[in-house]
Structure formats: C-alpha cells, structure tokens
C-alpha cells in the first residue's frame, strides 16, 4: 500500500488532466489508469466565464484525491501565492510544487524550490516537490519539511524515459524510506516499469497518456506496467551476468555419439 502524507493509496499512478482530446476521453483515461490522485492547476478565469466550474465539476464527480500544481511559476513568491490560492479553492493542503528555472528545459530552479518548500511546509502544506534527480537537493527538500519527493527522469513532456539510471539508483538507495514518485519524462510503459523496478513508489503521467493515439488504452497499459515493475522489484530480480548459464539441467542429458 502506497502511503503519501498519511493517505493510503492502492494505485501507484498519478495522472495529469491536461492536453486530452476531450473531457470524455480524459474521464475514461482516469478510470482506465486506476489512479486515485489527479493533478490540476489554477488559471485566469474570463469575465462571465464558467469554464473552471465545468472542469472542476467533472473532476469532483470522480471522487479522487486532487493534487493542485504551481505550474508556470518561476519565483518563490509566485509559487507560494499560487499554492495559497489553490488551497483556498481546492480545500486541500496538498500541493505539487513547481518552480521553473528554464523556459526551454522546464528544469526546476532547485534553489527557489527548496525555499518555497520550506515556506509552504511551515504554513501547513503537504508539499510534493517536482525536482531533479540530484541527491543533495533531495536531502535539502526533506530538511525543508517535504515527506514525499517527485524527481524527474527526463524533461517534462519529452518522453525520453529514464536518462540517468545512476542518479535514480542513488536517490532510491540513499532515501529508502521516503516515498518517491517519478514525475516527468516518461514516454512509454516500459519506462514506467523500469523506474518501478528500481524501487520507486509511483509515477506521475500526463503527456504520455494524453497525447497517445488512444489515451484510454495507454492509461491502462501504463497501469499494468507500473504494477509489473513494482511486483518485480519486490520479487527479487536476477543480476545480469556476462556468461551464459543453462537453464535446463546438464546432468542426465543423453549422449548420442
């Protein structure tokens, strides 16, 4: 059972709600993924508009947990204010904290991230920080009050999959008891299985599902891969070796010459 800030969850998939072809496909993809946590954002409302209400009614009808994000924020002040506004609207103290440091790579500004994480944790938020795979930053985030980490495995939306296996192994090995969710960069189910086989606790997906040819089928495929990787991690995998080892017993084989 996955436990995030004292909330127990059966599913190890978190799903973003952006970029789907239609609201109906979004809803079906959420169901197919089996997720119990969906991410949402806050954006400017148009005068007289009610688009926010329509979207929020759909999401609330699912009965899942909601993880608001601070996507698009580039400073501590922006991220903290967005988190406060999210708590006011969504009535949750969970926040996916993003403080972007580079427009092209969407790489987190880890210095601002740690500062914002400390401010928000002190203010009672349960912070889910979108961070890099840097071990030292991870330690600083934990010191700042985070009890969950969300390292990337590649840039957001890149679909490159895990780029630095050494860094990911190092993170997992150094903080074996901290729930860690791979957020960003996953492109296909095999990527998800790979990071789950490393012992990560969950994954957060959006683009890989939303932009797939069939988002609903892809959501289901990712869910299976995540379960497979998680079970494999606990089942004890063979270490690779350079020489062949016969699987069929050698003793008792017939000799025909």
């Amino acid at each position: 059972m996955l436990k995030l800030y004292n909330t127990e969850l059966s599913s190890r998939v978190l799903l973003g709600t952006a970029q789907y072809p239609s609201p109906a496909i979004l809803m079906d993809a959420i169901k197919a993924s089996g997720t119990e946590i969906v991410t949402v954002s806050l954006r400017r409302e148009m005068a007289g508009g009610k688009s926010g209400d329509k979207f929020w009614s759909l999401i609330r009808s699912l009965g899942t947990h909601v993880l608001p994000n601070t996507a698009g924020c580039h400073t501590v002040k922006e991220a903290v204010l967005t988190a406060q506004m999210a708590r006011d609207v969504f009535a949750t103290d969970w926040i996916k904290l993003e403080v972007i440091g580079n427009h092209d790579t969407l790489q987190p500004d880890v210095f601002a991230l740690v500062e914002a994480a400390r401010i928000l944790s002190d203010d009672g938020f349960k912070v889910f920080p979108y961070t890099t795979d840097d071990l030292i930053v991870a330690g600083r985030l934990l010191e700042a009050g985070c009890e969950v980490l969300m390292p990337w495995c590649a840039p957001i939306g890149s679909a490159l999959g895990p780029l630095n296996m050494h860094a990911l192994r190092s993170l997992r090995g150094n903080f074996p008891d901290v729930p860690m969710i791979i957020d960003a960069g996953l492109g296909r189910p095999s990527h998800a299985a790979t990071v789950m086989e490393l012992g990560f606790d969950a994954i957060l997906l959006n683009t890989a599902v939303a932009k797939a040819g069939d988002p609903v089928a892809m959501a289901g495929a990712f869910a299976k891969a995540v379960d497979a990787g998680h079970e494999a991690f606990h089942a004890g995998m063979l270490e690779p070796r350079d020489v062949a080892v016969p699987s069929t017993p050698v003793i008792g084989r017939a000799v025909f010459t």
Binding site: R43, G48, D53, N69, A71, L81, M85, D88, V89
Partner: protein, 65 residues
C-alpha cells in the same frame, strides 16, 4: 476607478473585491482571488477594499499536469 484585473485594464465602480466580481460578472463558484500579490480568501472579499491601480487576480480550476 481604474484597476488591472487578470492583466487587463478595467474602469469599475466597485469599491470591494466582492462587488468587483459581481460587476464584472465572474459568476463561477470556484474562484481564487489575490489583491496586489496577496491571497484574499473567499469570506474576506466583502471587506476587501479596492484602491486606484490595484492589481487583482481571479483564478479558477483548470487542467494541469
């Protein structure tokens, strides 16, 4: 009174944030508001006075990753 609402200039007669939402027909139930970079919670809007040149942000739930 001239204000900046979601980055757009508006000339309004509203004196409070609550009245501003009504005047500009922000009818959604699920709104988050900020005045000059500070959160204004829903129950505080009625007593939140506006001044010339104030910057108001009105946000609502949207899709996100």
């Amino acid at each position: 009174m001239k204000l900046l609402v979601n980055g757009e200039p508006h000339d309004v007669s509203a004196q409070s944030l609550d009245a501003l939402l009504a005047e500009l027909e922000f009818e959604g139930e699920w709104l988050a508001t900020a005045l000059n970079g500070e959160l204004v919670r829903s129950p505080e809007r009625q007593n939140c006075r506006l001044d010339e040149g104030d910057r108001v942000e009105i946000l609502t739930p949207r899709q996100g990753g």
